[in-house]
């Protein structure tokens, strides 16, 4: 454990303001701190895979580890049985992150992380949790096309690789989720977990179609809908020209006049995403960039449907 993080004492770093936490150190340090805090706050393992609960016996097969042989049965019956435990097989998780230009935006540069910076830290923490469970974890980044593919590995040292990829991320161009999700399908042949991190400023139907296809293949899918608080509540000068960084579409209006109906529209969009995901068996979480990382991790990992 890094001394600087340990020196935080009993403070739960995972529950601090993300911007403040990010100022404590680099990506690695912050992520470890977040995960330590997060795990310390759990009363029990968040996943059954951590447990070593006995599940059943089966006949010994050549190649089985001898430490799982039930010697008592051998003594009684002279037969070789091995114990089986829940979650013997490791999970294969693939984190799919949107790095489009819209992600590199924050409504308050002095006090809030950009959505991409927030995503980097959240993904790093999540990956560390998964790798500590010996779950193979990979990363795919995309903007208007797939930018990087880091295959899933179960070794803990793989986390460093992921950190390097995350640290090297730079904002891309437009957003097209479908190719990235199709690449995930190619990569995840066994049923696994797909974590989709994006601000969802993309073609909803296309993205949903791809996510649904993942569900049909048996994958568990979690969607983190990252939003900046400035995107939830419209603020600005008396009259402003708002320009989309990706499409360059622009609109000029008085934010004060439109704040209420805009908030309703955003709420409607979130509701539509939630309903559409729920209908397809996808876990959907809207997370604003001022949400502590621990809360975001808990949302994803505390639910049985999340990583089970």
């Amino acid at each position: 454990m890094n001394p600087s993080v340990s020196s935080l004492g009993p403070a739960r770093i995972d529950l601090l303001d993300p911007f403040e936490v990010s100022r404590l150190g680099g990506l690695e340090l912050v992520s470890e701190g977040v995960v330590e805090g997060f795990l310390a706050g759990l009363h029990r393992s968040p996943r059954r895979g951590f447990s070593v609960e006995f599940a059943e016996h089966r006949m010994y097969q050549p190649g089985d580890e001898l430490r799982y042989v039930d010697w008592k049965i051998l003594g009684r019956n002279d037969r070789l049985y091995v114990k089986q435990f829940e979650e013997e097989t490791n999970l294969r998780a693939m984190i799919v992150s949107d790095i489009s230009r819209s992600m590199a935006w924050t409504g308050a540069p002095d006090t809030r992380l950009t959505k991409l910076e927030y995503a980097q830290r959240l993904i790093a923490a999540l990956a560390l949790v998964l790798l500590r469970q010996r779950d193979a974890t990979g990363l795919i980044t995309f903007d208007d096309e797939v930018r990087s593919v880091t295959p899933a590995r179960a070794r803990l040292s793989h986390w460093r690789t992921l950190l390097r990829v995350l640290a090297a991320l730079s904002p891309g161009k437009g957003t097209a989720a479908e190719p990235a999700l199709r690449r995930v399908m190619d990569r995840l042949r066994r049923r696994g977990l797909v974590v989709f991190v994006s601000d969802l400023l993309l073609e909803r139907e296309t993205a949903l179609r791809a996510l649904q296809f993942l569900r049909h293949r048996g994958h568990q899918v979690i969607v983190f809908h990252l939003m900046d608080p400035g995107e939830v509540n419209l603020e600005g000068p008396a009259e402003a020209r708002f320009e989309d960084p990706e499409t360059r579409a622009a609109i000029t209006l008085r934010p004060k006049d439109w704040a209420d109906v805009y908030r309703d529209t955003v709420a409607g969009v979130v509701t539509e995403w939630y309903k559409a995901c729920r209908k397809r068996g996808i876990n959907y979480h809207r997370i604003t960039t001022d949400t502590p990382f621990g809360v975001a991790l808990r949302q994803a990992l505390a639910r049985p449907a999340g990583l089970a």
């Binding site: 992600m103 400023l201 708002f242 320009e243 579409a249 209006l253 109906v261 805009y262 529209t265």
Partner: protein, 562 residues
């Protein structure tokens, strides 16, 4: 400023604009309705009360269409029986405070209490008259106009298409009509006996059949008590029938179809006059007269004899031509006066003219003619005119021609109608026999000038010549001039009654605005409720208030959102 969620902003403004537009439309609609309702309320609208068990006193005209077509039998029940039941139910609902009138197919409005009118309803039988429904409604409205009570018209009818005529409806009108289709029907619509009198050898009648059925029915035609002739007839057919001879006199001709669902129109009666052909004496030097008479003689339409003389004034029946030499005019006029003829020749008129067409003669050129002057008051016996002036007249047993039968005087001798004209002149006009005519019951028929009385069987009516006669029943009526029978009327039902096809409700509603329709089973319950109306001003004002509140709410919401 850069803002990734511009798409949400675009959606917001678009959605908001749509909502604003919708709100604007709603506001416009509400305000329009408000204005319309205020105007309507100011006009004092009323609405009929349709379900009143008891009812306010009302003036009601009940028109029971018992015209000939009501005798049709549909599904084993006559239409009239159904109508009578409905009419009785309506009268049963009447109270002593209601003012009631009943009109049958005779078009007479009869006022009375419910009991008296029910007796009339019960005794109503299919009439031979046609009821013009538009006219009947107009008559009914005339009575209602004089009433202080709310008025209402109830028409119980088979709603024959041919009976529906235009009328301006000013009172609530309930039409009770059967909902099932009428049965197909054939009826005899006419008997055309052709030129008369028929000779003793007989003649040819053409029987017309009308109807809205594709069926063909056997047709039997009888001349008096002579053996009948038969043919097969269908709707629209004109069936020629040769009828064998009989002795001289007036003979009925009866055409009868085999029975169908409406019996009353299956029989039609006509009348023919049978007489020996005229025995004519003519001057063979009169080229055109002689030629025509020889043709008629060869065809058996006249024979040579002294019954009718054509030329100078002679004893007996005479057709007098004016003289070629004007110097002889005085002698002719004196001879006419000596015979007691009330007409004489006047001055020669060389101005060209044209005959006024009538049943005897079509339009012919007249180059020269003598004026025909009456020496008595009145102008009876005119048979043909030129420009309104007498050209052929008959007085007593003399017929005076205004022009000579010569192409230099008139184009008649060289026209196609000349020989038929001579046939009619010699056989009918000179002998004083008139055209047999026809008509419908209760409809006025113009009588010839000479007629002094009309006789049917044992009944006889004294009439004034030229006045209209209104026969009350179907049958044959003989026209009398003194003791002589000079013509006959064959009175039959109106052939339009044979067309049972019903008028569509929509077309009737177009013609009679505001009419409502009901079946004979449910219709009587709606009577006495159309004329009684409830005031709609209260509900209209409540609606105005509600719409006003809605307008205020919507307008403030719109102001807030914009």
């Amino acid at each position: 400023m850069v803002f990734p969620a511009v798409r949400y902003l675009v959606d917001t403004t678009r959605e908001h604009q749509r909502r604003l537009k919708l709100q604007n439309w709603l506001l416009l609609l509400i305000r329009t309705l408000l204005v319309a309702l205020v105007v309507t309320a100011a006009a004092g609208p009323t609405s009929p009360i349709r379900s009143a068990a008891g009812h306010s006193p009302a003036a009601l005209v009940l028109i029971l269409d018992n015209s000939l077509s009501s005798g049709a039998v549909v599904n084993g029940t006559s239409r009239l029986a159904t109508f009578r039941t409905a009419a009785r139910e309506i009268l049963d609902r009447a109270t002593s405070e209601d003012h009631l009138w009943l009109m049958l197919a005779d078009g007479v409005l009869r006022g009375g209490d419910p009991a008296a009118l029910k007796l009339l309803v019960d005794s109503a039988a299919p009439a031979f008259t046609r009821l013009d429904l538009g006219h009947a409604l107009s008559q009914g409205q005339e009575v209602l106009t004089t009433q202080a009570l709310p008025g209402e018209l109830v028409l119980v009818t088979d709603l024959q298409r041919t009976a529906v005529t235009e009328a301006e409806i000013r009172f609530p009108l309930l039409i009770i009509r059967p909902e099932d289709d009428p049965s197909g029907n054939l009826g005899v619509s006419g008997i055309e006996a052709g030129p008369q009198p028929w000779s003793l050898g007989g003649g040819r009648a053409i029987v017309s059949v009308v109807g809205d059925s594709n069926l063909s029915l056997p047709l039997t035609v009888r001349l008096g008590d002579r053996p009948p002739r038969q043919a097969l007839a269908s709707a629209g057919a004109a069936v020629p029938v040769i009828l064998s001879s009989a002795v001289s006199g007036w003979w009925p001709v009866q055409a009868e179809l085999d029975p169908d669902e409406l019996l009353a129109d299956n029989i039609r009666t006509g009348v023919v006059r049978i007489a020996p052909v005229a025995r004519v004496s003519w001057d063979s030097t009169e080229r055109f007269v002689a030629a025509a008479c020889e043709v008629l003689e060869r065809n058996g339409r006249i024979s040579r004899g002294n019954e009718v003389t054509i030329g100078p004034v002679a004893p007996g029946l005479t057709v007098v031509e004016p003289p070629q030499d004007p110097a002889q005019l005085g002698a002719i006029n004196r001879a006419l006066a000596a015979r007691g003829v009330g007409w004489q020749y006047g001055t020669l008129n060389a101005a060209a003219g044209t005959t006024d067409s009538n049943a005897l003669i079509s339009r012919e050129r007249v180059a020269r003619r003598y004026t025909l002057e009456t020496v008595e008051s009145g102008r009876t016996g005119v048979i043909a005119t030129v420009g309104g002036a007498p050209w052929i007249v008959r007085a007593g047993d003399v017929v005076l021609l205004g022009s000579r039968i010569d192409p230099e005087w008139t184009g008649l001798p060289i026209s196609a109608g000349f020989v038929p004209f001579m046939d009619a002149l010699l056989n009918r006009i000179a002998r004083g026999e008139l055209t047999v005519s026809g008509g419908n019951p209760d409809e006025p028929i113009a009588l010839p000038d000479l007629v002094t009385a009309v006789r049917q069987g044992a009944r006889q009516w004294v009439v004034e010549g030229g006045a209209p006669f209104r026969p009350g029943d179907i049958g044959i009526y003989f026209l009398l001039a003194g003791r002589d029978t000079i013509g006959a009327l064959a009175v039959n039902f109106d052939p339009r009654e044979s067309l049972l096809a019903r008028a569509a409700d929509g077309s009737v509603r177009d013609l009679w605005r505001g009419a409502s329709f009901a079946s004979p089973s449910g219709g009587p319950r709606q009577a006495f409720s159309l004329g009684v109306r409830t005031d709609l001003r209260g509900p209209a004002l409540w609606m105005v208030l509600l719409l006003g509140l809605a307008e205020v709410a919507l307008a403030s919401a719109r102001r807030k959102s914009s």
